[in-house]
Amino acid sequence: MNPSAAMASQPNRDLPPLPGRAPQPIVEVRSISKTYAGGIEALSGISLEFPEGRLTTLLGPSGCGKTTLLKIIAGLIPATGGQVLVDGREVTGPGPERAFVFQDFALMPWASVIRNVAFGLELRGVAHSEREAIAERHIARVGLKGFERKYPHELSGGMRQRVGLARALAVDAKVVLMDEPFSAVDEQTRRKFQEELLELVANEGKSFIFVTHSIEEAVYVSDRIALLSRRPSRVSAIIEPQIQRGGDPEKIRRDSAYLDVVEAIWQQLRHYLD
């Protein structure tokens, strides 16, 4: 196994602090379980920590409960047991310190791009001119300058997700929760998004919790990966890829350290398929 990938089968809290990184977790998930009405047990006693200022990925097979966990952290659905702490406070519902990026974008088709982006601020009662100014900044930030007055149906899938991202950034939350944000866009756009996401993590000082089912994507963008097992879900491993970033993306994707981590995760996930 690659030495640069710290891997443990029973990970959780006894993991040594990341070298040179903030040890303080911004989000703590404590033995969360979730049973849906109808008796489907999606999560059973998951415990996880999400370090501040980093991008942590929840990776696992489809239907294993990634969305469920993310929505519990967001406060959108209640857990059956356990608790979630954000910044030391227990989560009882959605909060201003968390923002969500939806897999299906969740844009309002009747509202222009700028109104969609400013929606979180509109709900908070921020004055019209002020929220438009903030929204404009974030629209430019995600590369949609000039599209402020367009409507979602006039945009491509990739552009729509940029709007969703700008909306989450506009409320200036500490934690950004992203549910498979790139799964509905084509591969080229997806790679471009991944670069931009890395840039955001490096510059914004926010913490990101990212959900994906793509191993390559997880290894490429994550500081830390929580590997979830099949339903009912538990954490089967924590992986810290520690990819050397900042170079040529193509080179990274051919780098042996990167490929080894991908391979190691694949070996872990493989026996879920049998």
């Binding site: 959605p94 909060g95 939806f102 969740a106 709900l123 908070r124």
Partner: protein, 272 residues
């Protein structure tokens, strides 16, 4: 309801001029005009055979239309017909949307009221007209009530369905950005429901026209109903057909107008 795509998989023609002719011929507008011309020509022809002594030609009908327009009958009749229609329709729209939204947001009221409207939607409510006449006499009230019972069920049920079908992810998006209940109703549920509510309004309008004419034919002959039944009784068929044609054209244009208003005011995403 326009078709936007071009004809799929029509065999390509080699000669350019022939192709240009065909393109022109299958142009939506040309075809629409062609279609109207064909039907009117057929009407004219059938009237000239004659199909029946009670079937005037199209031109005779136009003549009848000219006559009832010239002496002001048609205009006066329309004013009278519109009176119960507008009152009944306004009441149905206001009450219907309010009730539909209430039922969509509040489950106990849905439980209580929805079955009535589900049955009313399927049932031939026109049969209530004689009872309405008993209850309210032969005046304006009975006609207004007729319009209401015809128009309201579809408006209520469409509004209810629209509110119920708000996309879940939009609701979750709202609550993740801390929308209050009233914010999520005002800013998410109602806008998301409005296309389907408007569809209900269009159906409600069509039903209201059916109702008002029925009321005028059944309760007491007034307005357009009077023009129709009077000319029928004196066998002045061109005028009778002209009155029918005019109310049909009027109602279709009215519903079309409603759609235009909807798109320009409420549906930026549907504007071309």
């Amino acid at each position: 309801m326009q078709i936007s795509e071009l004809a799929p998989a029509l065999p390509a023609l080699r000669e350019a001029p022939a192709r240009r002719w065909r393109d022109l011929l299958i142009h939506p507008l040309v075809l629409r005009l062609l279609s109207f011309a064909a039907v009117l020509a057929l009407w004219e022809y059938a009237g000239r055979i004659p199909l029946s002594p009670a079937f005037p030609t199209f031109l005779e009908t136009l003549g009848g239309l000219g006559a009832i327009m010239a002496d002001g009958t048609l205009f006066k009749a329309f004013l009278i017909t519109l009176h119960p229609l507008v009152i009944g329709l306004t009441a149905s729209i206001l009450c219907g949307i309010a009730l539909g939204v209430l039922m969509g947001l509040h489950e106990p009221s849905e439980w209580l009221f929805a079955p009535i409207f589900v049955i009313a939607q399927a049932a031939p409510l026109a049969a209530l007209i004689p009872i309405l006449t008993f209850a309210y006499g032969i005046g304006l009230t009975a006609k207004v009530m007729t319009v209401c019972i015809m128009a309201m069920p579809v408006i209520v049920l469409n509004t209810l369905g629209a509110v119920r079908n708000t996309p879940k992810s939009l609701l979750e998006m709202g609550s993740s950005f801390l929308a209050t209940r009233s914010q999520s109703i005002r800013l998410i549920i109602l806008p998301a429901a409005s296309p389907m509510i408007f569809a209900g309004l269009r159906l409600g309008c069509a039903a209201a026209f059916i109702g008002v004419i029925l009321a005028e034919l059944l309760i007491t002959p007034t307005g357009i109903g009077d023009v129709i039944s009077y000319n029928q009784s004196v066998a002045d068929y061109p005028k009778m057909y002209a009155a029918i044609l005019s109310i049909i054209v009027f109602s279709v244009l009215f519903i079309e107008l409603l759609e235009r208003i909807e798109v320009t005011l409420f549906r930026p995403e549907a504007r071309p």
